[in-house]
Symmetry: C2
Subunit: 456 residues, 2 copies
């Protein structure tokens, strides 16, 4: 009995000491990030000196070189480039879109952005009647007779009653991604889509789209939510309203680019890799500040915090800037393929690609007990107002590691403002709050520390 | 045994039904707030049509009339004005502050705001040597000989390592509030204080201050954090650097104003009052958007949500716009005094006065088991990402009800951006996010609903 009590006492005390020590490390990490953090200065350079970084652009190339030098400057053990071929789509001259000759208001130019990957309109543009639909079922019901020769207008809004705006986005984005593909099957000449935001404003949101590999490719663009509301109301009164669309975009041959990988070698289990990353490419509008410059600089900052605080991780840490998340995922695919080929063991991968607002938690995908293990550390995070450690899906880039048994962790910041900015000219450096960015980096660094200490 | 199981089963099922029903009401409240909410439109009017609303100003009077009409328009059972005399301080012509003839950079004008309640400088201003201190202990140690005839410069920054910025503010604001009072005791001719923010920028932050009731009153002003850093670095190299300060502010005779009170009568316990409020006055800079126009429109919105959804509260609900929180608290004092005189029973009072960012929870002061009772409802709030239901202090206005046994609840939004804006020209309508504002109103409405159903 006394022995059992003794053992119990020892266990409790070792847990207590362990926890205290982890909490103390967490406190050091937050203090360093909030007082000497470098994520904000890094992001300022990436956003205001380099700018938006669509795959294949000169800015994407500059960002590759910059992030490599940045990680070398911080003295990571190894910094390398991983070659990958990426799509090279260019927007060309500004788009032009007009509601034509409506009975109520005459003609009205509306804010528009081509979707990434769209083909151009013929020179001079397309002018056609408009068919508004809310979803693909409506499209199918209307059929070829109603659609042929027309512009299909997808106008289902994001559901504002969902608390996490990402869920609202997820419930609407099929219109943007697959709208042109399906409309083309019914003979439409173009597709326009309501911008993916709960805001009612004049800012169009671009984003990825896909075509059928065979068949006609029709131009596709997003119009602002105010423009979508206007067009919809005009169509209700007058179904003959026409729409004019001019896109000048073009897909050039694939071009060579790189993932950028920084590494700190693990002292005890160097073969077990803890990855933290974001994507270095962005859309070609704004600065790609929240999406995903912020996630990149946070990932670099996580490893820098280890260096600055002299923490030697037991497992190997990698900061990975994935290339081409926005329009191809080629960087993520290449990274996962090479990891598999080399037999690398990524025990866990964390991605910050949901904006860099105040950290709220992590969304975790694990086929084993990874979620439960991470949830046990929740008390450490609660000291920093981070409560949501829940089942989730990970992130677009890291999910390519899913079939290698890697536990996938999506960093979850506050979501309310993200889709005000996402894929727009408004996603600029000034929209990022320094403390929120730093708190996110520190939150991830603490998780990386715990994972590198205890594994999964 | 079977009877016990039966009773247990009945208890469990009634709890389950009760919870489900409360959750369903919560869902309705959030849906209404996010789809047909009126807080944002109200705030736009209050901020951009009326503007900043310092006690005694014409704008404060306009805000009283506007909020009364607004609540009448929504059909609350009773809307009334509660007369209260308030201080009437005016800023006068713009302040002017200059670092004078430093050896390193010559003279440099710096951003400055008089503190609320400060006396003016003599015509032409004050020019004097500067003594920098971090706290009152340093001031005392320096003593009259070192301070006499000089300008005392309080330069202790907010602690950036604290996660809740309110705590950082609380740890520094004594310099602003009491700096002039203490400096005057040692013969200083003026006091300047580093602005109360963790940012390093050019925006001065005003705020309240107090004088000794007898003795000399010296002018007091806040300079921007960048200016404070500059002045401090110049003083390190050259202790003879002088500072020139011109303030044109003035305290006029007290003037009549009002608290504005809207009420929905309780159907079962009309004598038990559940109060939700904010303060209608603001500083005379910016729009007073986050501080505290947002809290006012959220409070009105809480009662409007009950009307819109046809929910008849069992207890009486009051939305109270307190007057004069910023520089006197006279509205809160009057409200509490009248409540006491009339024998009114405020079972709980909720205040939104910490900005209108994404809701994180409530900080609760209760001498009984109020905190524990409210914490039992936490699962309902977690559906809306609201986790922090913790011990707290309430709010400045509602705290005047403390000695009447009222449970005090401070609404807690995310704190990271608040002190970027607090008491500055930057606290404008465009800094408020519509969804964040609406989520806050809905979160408080759900708590008000539960309190009105179950009491405390």
């Amino acid at each position: 009995m006394t022995v059992r009590i003794l053992i119990l006492a020892l266990m409790v005390s070792s847990i207590a000491v362990g926890q205290e020590s982890d909490s103390a490390v967490a406190r050091k990490i937050f203090t360093e990030a909030l007082t000497k953090g470098q994520s904000y200065e890094m992001l300022e350079y990436l956003c205001t000196r380099i700018g938006s970084r669509l795959s294949g652009s000169p800015q994407a190339a500059a960002a590759v070189e910059w992030s490599k030098q940045q990680m070398e400057k911080y003295g990571f053990d190894k910094v390398s480039l991983q070659e990958v071929m990426v799509p090279h789509w260019v927007r060309g001259a500004s788009e032009y879109a007009v509601i034509v000759n409506s009975k109520a208001i005459g003609s009205r130019e509306v804010p528009v952005l081509a979707l990434g990957g769209s083909v151009a309109t013929p020179p001079g543009g397309i002018t056609a009647n408009v068919v508004e639909v809310q979803n693909f079922e409506e499209l199918e019901k209307l059929g070829k007779k109603a659609i042929q020769g027309k512009i299909v207008f997808y106008n289902r809004p994001l559901d504002p009653t969902l608390i996490n705006t990402g869920s609202a986005y997820g419930g609407a984005v099929d219109q943007r991604h697959d709208g042109a593909k399906f409309a083309a099957r019914y003979g439409a000449v173009a597709a326009i889509v309501r911008s993916m935001t709960t805001l009612h404003d004049d800012v169009p949101h671009t984003g990825s789209m896909g075509y059928d590999s065979v068949g006609t490719k029709i131009p596709a663009a997003a119009i602002s939510t105010n423009a979508a509301d206007l067009l919809s109301s005009l169509l209700k009164a007058d179904s003959d309203v026409q729409f004019h669309l001019e896109l000048h975009c073009e897909t050039l041959p694939d071009i060579k680019s790189y993932n950028v990988i920084g590494e700190i070698k693990g002292s005890e289990f160097p073969d077990e890799i803890v990855l933290v990353g974001g994507h270095l490419d962005s859309w070609d509008v704004g600065h790609g500040a929240h999406d995903d410059g912020g996630g990149c600089v946070q990932s670099i900052e996580v490893l820098r915090l280890f260096k600055a605080l002299g923490i030697k991780p037991k497992r190997t840490l990698r900061a990975v800037m994935f290339m081409n998340e926005e329009n191809g995922m080629n960087g993520a695919k290449e990274y996962a393929a090479q990891a598999k080929a080399k037999g690398e063991k990524h025990i866990v991968a964390i991605e910050s690609d949901a904006g860099v607002f105040t950290p709220r938690g992590f969304g975790i995908y694990s086929e084993g007990d990874g979620l439960a293990k991470i949830q046990k550390w929740r008390p450490i995070f609660e000291d920093y107002n981070v409560y949501q450690i829940e089942k989730g899906w990970g992130g677009a880039d890291i999910n390519k590691l899913k079939d290698q048994g890697t536990v996938l962790v999506g960093f979850r910041p506050d979501t309310q403002r993200y889709f005000d900015l996402h894929h727009t000219n408004s996603d600029t450096f000034d929209k990022v709050n320094k403390r929120e960015l730093e708190l996110g980096a520190a939150t991830m660094a603490v998780l990386v520390y715990l994972l590198s200490e205890y594994g999964l």
